[in-house]
Amino acid sequence: MNIQEMILTLQKHWSDQNCILMQAYDVEKGAGTMSPMTLLRSLGPEPWNVAYVEPSRRPADGRYGQNPNRLYQHHQFQVIMKPSPHNIQDLYLDSLAALGIDPLKHDIRFVEDNWENPTLGAAGLGWEVWLDGMEITQFTYFQQIGGLEAKPVAVELTYGIERLASYIQDKENVFDLEWTTDVTVGDIFYQPEYEHSTYTFEESNEAMLFDLFSKYEKEAQKTMEKGLVFPAYDYVLKCSHTFNLLDAKGVISVTERTGYIARVRTLAREIAKRYVEERERLGFPMLKQEVSES
């Protein structure tokens, strides 16, 4: 099964579970969790079920396209269900079956892995799912987001698309994976991997990036104070990516590092709070069915 078919299969599977199929969010980010479709929407009492593919940029993981396992940008298939359904593990295992993974032929395990993202004030409990010893999915019950208690609890499934594909297609090198018939990951991503790595580690303009970080931060702050949570959050994401670029370049010392993370976290927390307030002001519109019933 090629990657394109995998994505179609997963989309179909989760669409059948009444998930809204979204597209990737158009601001750079390090993980699918950071999309507002997860991070903000997981907050508050409104039900929310969504699935999407998220290209995730991790500048420090860039390897000039030379490493068979590490990428500047990889893809995550992200599922959020709030509240977490009681049969979520079965739904997940069914999705693996849909990808042609017969559990009787393999060893599938849920191995404890508690997830934490201090930058976003987020934490959850759950597992990494092992397929014959390989981590293919991060399975997390959110407990806290943006410093707020997640209530009801949203469950997050993050499939590592390339990881899973390397198993399904039995390939050693990520660049040999078939994206679709006759087109490999290498065909599409080798050049950007090389160029992004070169840019990140050698060519990026540090002074400009430092400047951008401050400007994005100010804009986020200002926008948030106007109660515009979504645009404010976009600037937080930009801060985060800019920070990642500077960090990968090795120009942020360890002490400074803590400071920068704290600045992003403060913003993310504030925005999380404002988001819930804003939804409440709107009367939690997605709760309206339940409200009218009661």
Partner: protein, 695 residues
């Protein structure tokens, strides 16, 4: 009495393996306590645990509580009976409240006062009606980490997905976290199916048929047997790490052992990295030859049966291959760097906010190393090796390998140092400066390693104490206690002639010069002494030395720790030795009468009797051998020297009045005793010892 068996099983999403054994134990103990508090008799109880279930089976649970007759105390006779001898309202109220009449009342005296009593018969309730309370036991289990799920308010180790509760063949009516109990349970996630249990006793067997081995010791046996079989068939040696075995036992419901291999080329990567990859990351058992060499194979445990085991093995091989390629890549990349480049990077790695970067720390450690080497008067070559090892001791912290495998700090340092052209001793000292890494680790073998290890640990301890990081209770994030114990163990082994107090002083003055401390030097010194004192007592206790003896030899600080230990061993021996009784009494007699312990002028002209003269002579004779014994740290000889004064001391006290009327004579006698006391205290404060000679 009629009895039935009772079973409770909680089905959960996969629990963390490290919490399962404890949860299982709690479930059992709490159930016992609860049944006892309900006065429900039972024969036997066993609990079980797998990643997906916690269960408890209670055999022969009585069908009802026993009936009991209870004596209920009422008001005192004074209130209960009026002047005419009739029952008052209080008495009647009491009987009504108990569902009795005044005819049932009787009087009993308690502490001189009479009170009303009735006997009340309480019929035992049916067990079936009480078992719903099991719910509270389940929800009362304590876990180190809890979570919430769905829209429930329950906090538990993992989401609860089913509850099986039977008393005899009846379902116990209870509901936990929105789940209604039934007689249904679930087999292995993939190999088993949902089944109905008709009888609690059938629990284990019924689940075994569904590929769930509920008893963890049975799962452990299956794993060990599988490993033994592989050893036998393939001629391998597979060392079983008990921690890993416990973990994998609780990661599966139905274990099957399998093996896989990896390319021999990876054997060029340092073995420690390969072993860490296999054990820590993948939970595999590494494989060795009969001679103990690492072989390119591994053993894993599948949660399932033997079907398609080849596919599972192949998948695991692929994962391990990716991990080992990473390790190999890191190993090769690290070799392209140099010690100097790594040292530069350490300028940016913070050791501790107030104590500066790792680079700053190494500079302090170099100074301590130089001072220590100087003091110990080691060979020039040793000094140079130690200095170099200290100067680059942390360079491996910024390598890819240590970044990935943090346990390999020092180990990679040694290997890379050799590759970068450092001499063998320096390289080894880099590794050894972390030793002892834990309570069971070995100590540095080289003098260089021992010196740098002490310097590094000392710098961390005094640095932290200087800025107010003092371990309290279970809080010791920098492992200061372990490091202080490490220093003392090295001093004990090396028998170096240096006092702990001098070490503390050396580090203190470096911090003072750098102006880092934010507390008074005197306070830091006091805390440091106390901190080391506690560890010294701890080590002594571990070595079988009683606290009073430890106190006696450490009364004036730790000093030369190995010598303090020697003295303690000798005293532990002597305290039981009846031939030493008289000696000890003599020495303690001196200590008891002296308040000052210093050399005072003794004037032989003022002696009035021969006993004084003899004692003085004996003391003078003692000085040379005693001081020789002390300076060569020979505890037995030192004590023997002191013992030579036994007879003269007794004679002196038996025939001399110390507190003579003549002031000069008295002072002269006290001066003599004070000189002797000073020598005894140099050995130990013998008054602190509880002498235990048996007669």
């Amino acid at each position: 009495m009629t009895t039935n068996h009772a079973l409770l099983e909680i089905g959960l999403e996969e629990m963390p393996s490290r919490f399962i054994d404890d949860a299982k134990q709690q479930l059992k103990e709490r159930t016992i306590d609860w049944l006892n508090s309900l006065r429900i008799p039972f024969e036997d109880i066993e609990s079980y645990g797998t990643p997906r279930r916690l269960a408890v089976l209670v055999k022969d649970v009585a069908e009802k509580q026993p009936d009991i007759e209870e004596e209920v105390k009422g008001p005192s006779k004074k209130i209960a009976v009026d002047d005419d001898g009739n029952w008052t309202k209080a008495a009647i109220g009491f009987t009504k409240g108990q569902g009795k009449s005044v005819d049932d009342l009787y009087l009993k005296e308690i502490k001189g006062l009479e009170y009303l009593f009735v006997n009340k018969y309480i019929a035992g309730k049916k067990t079936a009606e009480l078992l719903s309370g099991w719910k509270e036991i389940v929800l009362g289990l304590q876990f180190p980490k809890n979570m919430r799920w769905g829209d429930l308010n329950v906090r538990y180790i993992r989401p609860i997905r089913w509850v099986t509760a039977l008393y005899g063949n009846e379902v116990i009516p209870l509901e936990i976290a929105g789940i209604v109990a039934s007689d249904q349970t679930y087999g292995h996630r993939f190999l088993g199916k949902r089944i109905s249990l008709k009888n609690p006793l059938a629990y284990k067997d019924a689940l075994l048929q569904q590929f769930v081995v509920v008893d963890s010791s049975e799962r452990e046996h299956m794993i060990v047997d599988g490993i033994k079989e592989l050893e036998h068939n393939k001629g391998w040696t597979i060392p079983i790490d008990q921690n890993l075995l416990n973990e994998v036992t609780n990661l599966v419901e139905y274990p099957t052992v399998f093996s896989g291999g990896f390319s021999e080329e990876f054997l060029s990567v340092p073995e420690e990295a390969l072993v860490t990859s296999m054990k820590e990351h993948q939970r595999y058992f590494p494989v060795r030859s009969k001679k103990g060499e690492l072989l390119p194979y591994f053993v894993g445990i599948r949660n399932g049966n033997k079907e398609h085991l080849d596919v599972v093995a192949k998948g695991n091989e692929k994962v391990l291959r990716a991990r080992l390629s990473d390790a190999q890549f890191f190993y090769q990349e690290d070799q392209k760097q140099s010690i100097e480049k790594n040292m530069e990077k350490l300028n940016r790695v913070v050791f501790q906010e107030e104590l500066g970067t790792v680079h700053d720390k190494m500079k302090r450690v170099v100074r301590l190393t130089e001072q220590l080497a100087q003091h110990l008067n080691v060979k020039e070559e040793t000094k140079e090796n130690a200095r170099r090892a200290a100067a680059i001791s942390k360079f491996d912290l910024v390598t890819n390998m240590v970044n990935e495998f943090t346990d390999l700090q020092g180990i990679m340092g040694e290997k890379y140092a050799l590759l970068f052209g450092e001499n063998v001793t320096t390289a080894k000292a880099i590794n050894e400066h972390y030793m002892p890494r834990n309570a069971h680790d070995s100590l540095p073998e080289t003098t260089e390693g021992a010196i740098v290890s002490i310097a590094d640990k000392l710098d961390t301890i005094i640095g932290c104490l200087s800025i107010g990081i003092v371990p309290t209770g279970s809080q010791d994030p920098h492992g200061l206690r372990r490091q202080a114990i490490g220093i003392l163990q090295i001093l004990k082994q090396q028998k170096w002639n240096i006092s702990v107090e001098a070490l503390v002083e050396a580090s203190l003055s470096i911090y003072q010069q750098l102006g880092i401390a934010n507390r008074e030097k005197q306070e830091i010194r006091k805390d440091s002494y106390e901190f080391f004192y506690m560890r010294a007592v701890y080590i002594m206790r571990e070595d079988g030395i009683d606290p009073d003896v430890a106190k006696a030899v450490l009364y004036n600080g730790i000093g030369h720790f190995a010598f303090a230990l020697e003295k303690a061993y000798v005293l532990m021996d002597k305290r039981q030795d009846k031939t030493f009784k008289s000696t000890q009494e003599a020495l303690v007699r001196v200590l008891n009468i002296t308040s000052e312990v210093l050399d005072r002028e003794v004037d032989p002209e003022l002696f009035e009797n021969t006993f004084e003269k003899n004692l003085f002579q004996s003391f003078t004779n003692l000085l040379e051998p005693y001081e020789a014994a002390l300076s060569s740290f020979h505890a037995t000889r030192a004590l023997e020297a002191l013992a030579m004064m036994e007879e003269p001391i007794h004679q002196f006290f038996d025939h001399t009045m110390v507190m003579a009327d003549d002031h000069k004579v008295k002072e002269n006698r006290l001066s003599l005793l004070s000189c002797i006391a000073k020598r005894i205290y140099q050995f130990a404060d013998l008054t602190k010892i509880e002498w235990k000679q048996q007669f």
